[in-house]
């Protein structure tokens, strides 16, 4: 730019010299012909004409004058803004709030919803699930998906994988790495359209099942190859140990490739060899797979969907058990990228994004109103410029440049604000929206911010500029002061803008109020157990180290004993997952075969399943409804026992009366011939999430678990929580606990430690996040809105000082004058609130997923926030009202 302007300046100087030379030659000629020096000069100048104008018209032919003008406008705009710092600061602050909030929320939307998937033509990928009476099933047996593969024409190819979120341990050059190892069909990478960067994929048959000879091959992700094996270029063919088993590395996937998408953990992939268990449809033993297919190019999603439904109607006939059949009667087809985001989450995110958008609109409206006031104040200046020959377009352009400068300033600050907001809300955002990478505004966001800047500049400057430029020149010049008639139009326009602001602020405030009520309600839910002074260690169990050993006696019992001996620890206990925990979930269903009403009801039950240590009651302090909890006398050699909760008994018995009848019944076998007896009923507690009622639950006792216990591997070998109640500050025990777990097994030192209070708070994290965001948005909106009301009334009073002075001089009471101003505020607030309540009534439904124990149309909340807004508005307007009442009639009239 500077080079450019320098060359421009040089050309200007040359033109100047050219014209001066012309004049000199003319003067010289005239002097040669005998004219006097002055005479020659005067005639030559007169004949030449207006030098400045000729230069300008000449420069026009160069074709870059607009740039010169832009530079002028820029300089002029900066000078204007420096001259009125309060106006500039208010406007920039308003726009910064709006832009910052929107940019921050858009960053989140970008990360969650707009991420491009690292697969070829990912819009053609679909996730296929069976669905029926109980909704979507957890996975599809091989026999069923085989038929889709054989009969579907709309789908080019169908692949499958067994999803897992269990951590496996991969031995690398630098110790063991925690990885996720899903088993995938041979054609999975082909369906995704991604080839290994090194080596090859798995070889398989047409149905995608991997050849048996491949069973001990493994494919690494780029990140595992880099971090665990130091980017070893000769990695192919090497043997590595995964959970103690040997595998040969046959391939490394390209950088940025992840699958399944959205998991932050490093991945390796194992081949899925189809076995005998896949040859039957037995709910208890047949493995389930996640299915992903690729649509043929130009094939519609709907075609594939209806085709699969037809195929499924045949598949379902092959189920012999009528109960199982009802679960798989139909197909749920989703685009793969849609299947990655939970619908409720998507809606919640969009609602929050919309809220930030509303704040942006409020900011723009406020800015427009401010610019309008400024245009009015500068009407005379604009008129003078018009009279001096500036074209209307030129004036509009100059004001637009001012707007652009303002919003560029605001967006630079807004970007900073957005980064600050992302930092402040990092925990909540990453927890709620499962974002694993660092969130910084990327190019898209900066692009959107730039677009928003331009739009807001146009919104907030061009309209006032057009109004300003349209004003006819003569009257503005003649009267020499602000005009009454255009002032009224001005005032009305600005008043409608303020009404709009009030209405939009009310939408945000209603949302904010509803969420605060929700948070209040959630904080006061009786949980049924204590959360204070408890530290929880979530451990991923390296079970391969204990194969052939009894984990109960060799890992868990010593661990608990040592934890109990730490000074300040009251009691420590193990549990597969603490209440409200999200790390590990086991479900229990009955496989009863009968068809009586009670048996069908029991088969429908889905219960939480936990293995628990007997000290657990001392840690959490929950109550028993009937019977007893596990105690030290329950051992591997004593009678096997279980406890259930009240909800379990209620559903099992189908009644709320005489629940103790369940005591002494035998519901589960620990091994084929170890029956268990129900010895106690826990009182109801919020064990799944604070916002949901108690779910049926059945618990077994950890000391009674032995390696031959059914599901031993899943219960003890995957994940375990150690919960410790302390006298002292719970986090002060963490170093000792970490050391203790490390001694038990080196891998356990990676365990995550949290306080139980934090676990409980994370359980209503989405509400907490929405509430804090809406407090920020709503608070900002309220502030902007109140400054808007104040600004307009202050303008009104300043504008009508003479009239008010006259009224007072003619005998109006000061109270009357004050009332005159407050009445203006009153009707704006009334109109704004009415409109706002109507809008809030419609939009608060968007927040439904967040609300707990309160309806989206709660009248008390609506009334309270309206009162807050009206109160704030009246307080703000009382300042100009009082100023109006203080008008000194003599002073006011003297200026006439």
């Amino acid at each position: 730019m500077s080079v450019f302007s320098r060359s421009f300046a040089k050309r200007k100087a040359e033109l100047d010299e050219e014209i001066q030379a012309h004049l000199q030659m003319d003067i010289q000629d005239r002097k040669d012909r005998g004219a006097s020096s002055e005479q020659a000069r005067a005639v030559a100048m007169r004949e030449f004409g207006n030098i400045a104008l000729i230069e300008e018209v000449t420069r026009d032919t160069w074709g870059w004058v607009w740039l010169e003008r832009l530079g002028q406008d820029l300089k002029y705009a900066l000078r204007q803004l420096r001259r009125s710092p309060v106006f500039t600061a208010t406007l920039v602050a308003t726009l910064t709030l709006g832009l910052g909030a929107t940019a921050a929320m858009f960053t989140v939307v970008d990360h969650v919803l707009l991420r491009p998937l690292p697969y070829a033509d990912s819009h053609q990928l679909v996730a296929i699930n069976e669905a029926g009476k109980k909704g979507v099933t957890g996975g599809t047996p091989f026999l069923d998906l085989r038929q889709w593969q054989q009969r579907s024409h709309a789908l080019q190819e169908i692949a499958f994988y067994s999803s897992t979120n269990h951590i496996s341990f991969l031995d690398g050059t630098t110790g063991s790495a925690r990885v996720i190892a899903p088993q995938v069909s041979a054609n999975l990478f082909a369906v995704l359209g991604v080839h290994p960067a090194m080596g090859r994929g798995f070889e398989g048959q047409s149905d995608g099942s991997v050849l048996a000879g491949e069973a001990h091959n493994i494919i690494l992700s780029d990140s595992v190859w880099r971090t665990t094996y130091g980017s070893d270029p000769n990695i192919l063919g090497k043997v590595v140990k995964l959970n103690g088993e040997s595998y040969i590395i046959v391939g490394v996937m390209p950088r940025d490739f992840t699958f399944p998408f959205g998991d932050a953990n490093p991945h390796v992939w194992l081949p899925k060899v189809i076995g005998d268990k896949d040859a039957v449809r037995n709910a208890n033993i047949t493995p389930n797979y996640q299915v992903i297919g690729r649509l043929r190019p130009n094939e519609a999603f709907e075609t594939a969907e209806s085709e699969l439904k037809v195929i499924q109607s045949d598949v379902v006939k092959q189920y012999s058990d009528p109960y199982d059949r009802e679960r798989v009667t139909s197909i749920k087809l989703q685009r793969y990228d849609d299947s990655l985001v939970v619908v409720g989450l998507k809606k919640a995110l969009l609602a929050l994004f919309a809220a930030s958008g509303v704040l942006w609109l409020i900011a723009c409206v406020n800015a427009t109103s401010l610019m309008l006031a400024r245009a009015a104040a500068r009407q005379r200046e604009i008129a003078v410029r018009g009279a001096l020959g500036a074209s209307r377009w030129r004036i509009v352009q100059q004001l637009a440049v001012e707007g652009l400068v303002l919003s560029a300033l605001a967006s630079a600050l807004g970007l900073g604000l957005a980064m600050l907001m992302l930092k402040l809300f990092e925990h909540g955002l990453t927890q709620q929206f499962h974002i694993h990478e660092k969130m910084t505004p990327n190019l898209t966001v900066i692009g959107v911010l730039a677009a928003l800047t331009i739009v807001s500049a146009l919104l907030c400057s061009v309209w006032p500029a057009v109004v300003g430029a349209r004003a006819s020149i003569e009257p503005a010049l003649r009267q020499g002061g602000p005009q009454s008639s255009s002032g009224v139009v001005q005032y009305r326009t600005r008043a409608s803008l303020v009404v709009l602001q009030i209405a939009m602020s009310l939408i945000l405030l209603v949302g904010c109020g509803l969420l605060l009520r929700t948070i209040y309600a959630l904080r006061h839910v009786p949980l049924g157990f204590r959360t204070d002074h408890i530290i929880v260690a979530n451990m991923t169990i390296p079970s391969y180290r204990f194969s052939g050993h009894n984990m109960t006696t060799e890992l868990y019992q010593p661990l608990v004993d040592r934890a109990n001996r730490i000074p300040g620890v009251q009691s420590a206990s193990l549990m597969t997952a603490v209440p409200l925990g999200t790390t590990f979930k086991m479900q229990f269903t009955f496989s009863a075969e009968g068809n009586s009403a009670a048996e069908i009801r029991r088969r429908e039950m889905v219960s939480q399943f936990r293995a628990v240590g007997p000290e657990m009651q001392r840690v959490f302090g929950f109550r028993m409804f009937k019977g007893r909890f596990f105690n030290e006398s329950d051992t591997a050699t004593s009678q096997s026992v279980v406890v259930v909760n009240r909800e379990f008994a209620r559903q099992y018995l189908g009644t709320n009366q005489n629940l103790e009848k369940i005591l002494g019944q035998s519901l589960v076998n620990l091994t084929k011939n170890r029956h268990t007896l129900v010895i106690g009923i826990l009182d109801d507690e919020r064990q799944v999430s604070i916002a949901s009622q108690s779910q049926p639950e059945i618990e077994i006792c950890i000391p009674q678990i032995t390696p031959d216990t059914l599901a031993y591997q899943s219960v003890e070998g995957l994940s375990m929580d150690l919960a410790v109640r302390t006298d002292r500050n719970p986090s002060s025990v963490i170093p000792e606990l970490r050391e203790l777990t490390r001694q038990s097994s080196p891998e356990l030192s990676d365990s995550t430690f949290t306080t139980m209070d934090q676990v409980a708070e994370d359980s209503y994290g989405s509400q907490q996040l929405a509430a804090s965001l809406l407090i920020v948005f709503g608070g900002s909106a309220l502030l902007v809105c109140i400054t808007g009301i104040y600004g307009l009334l202050a303008y009104l009073v300043a504008h009508r000082t003479k009239e008010l002075g006259l009224r007072i001089a003619l005998g109006a009471q000061r109270g009357d004058v004050m009332w005159l101003v407050l009445r203006q505020a009153g009707w704006m607030l009334l109109a704004g609130s009415t409109l706002g309540l109507i809008l809030a009534y419609m939009t608060s439904l968007l927040l439904r997923t967040f609300l707990y124990n309160i309806t989206a149309h709660d009248p008390w909340t609506m009334a309270a926030v309206t009162a807050l807004l009206v109160g704030g508005g009246l307080a703000a307007s009382s300042i100009p009202a009082r100023r109006a009442a203080m008008v000194d009639p003599i002073e006011a009239l003297r200026t006439e």
């Binding site: 010299e17 030379a21 030659m25 010289q28 030449f48 000729i54 018209v57 032919t61 160069w62």
Partner: protein, 121 residues
């Protein structure tokens, strides 16, 4: 504003003709702006007085079209001045301007000299 429009209108009216006259003048050798004005006045028998407000924009436009090139030189009286020289493209343009102009003169002439029909009869 009004003053500027007056100049612009003049330029537009004379545009084709003025460009042709300038190019024709430069056929006889390089000239500076003042020289072109003088040459045109002399060659037209003191009738054509080119406005400087039209001349300089025209010269700069012609230079932009690459029909003329400019360089700074000293005059005989040691005055530094910008000289314009016609280019090959400029000569081609002059030829086409000239033929178009001649055609135009013929057409207009034919219209103007045609005896009004019917009245004589």
């Amino acid at each position: 504003m009004i003053g500027r429009n007056r100049y612009k209108n003049r330029i537009e009216l004379l545009q084709g003709t003025l460009d042709m006259l300038i190019l024709q003048t430069l056929q006889w050798g390089p000239h500076h702006g003042y020289g072109i004005v003088q040459a045109l006045r002399t060659n037209s028998g003191e009738v054509l007085q080119v406005e400087t407000g039209s001349l300089y924009p025209a010269l700069h436009r012609l230079e932009r079209q690459a029909w003329v090139r400019s360089e700074w030189k000293q005059t005989e009286s040691n005055q530094r001045a910008k000289y314009y020289r016609i280019t090959a493209a400029g000569k081609k343009q002059l030829a086409s301007d000239l033929s178009r102009w001649q055609h135009m003169v013929e057409v207009i002439g034919a219209v103007m000299h045609r005896a009004p029909e019917g009245e004589e009869a």
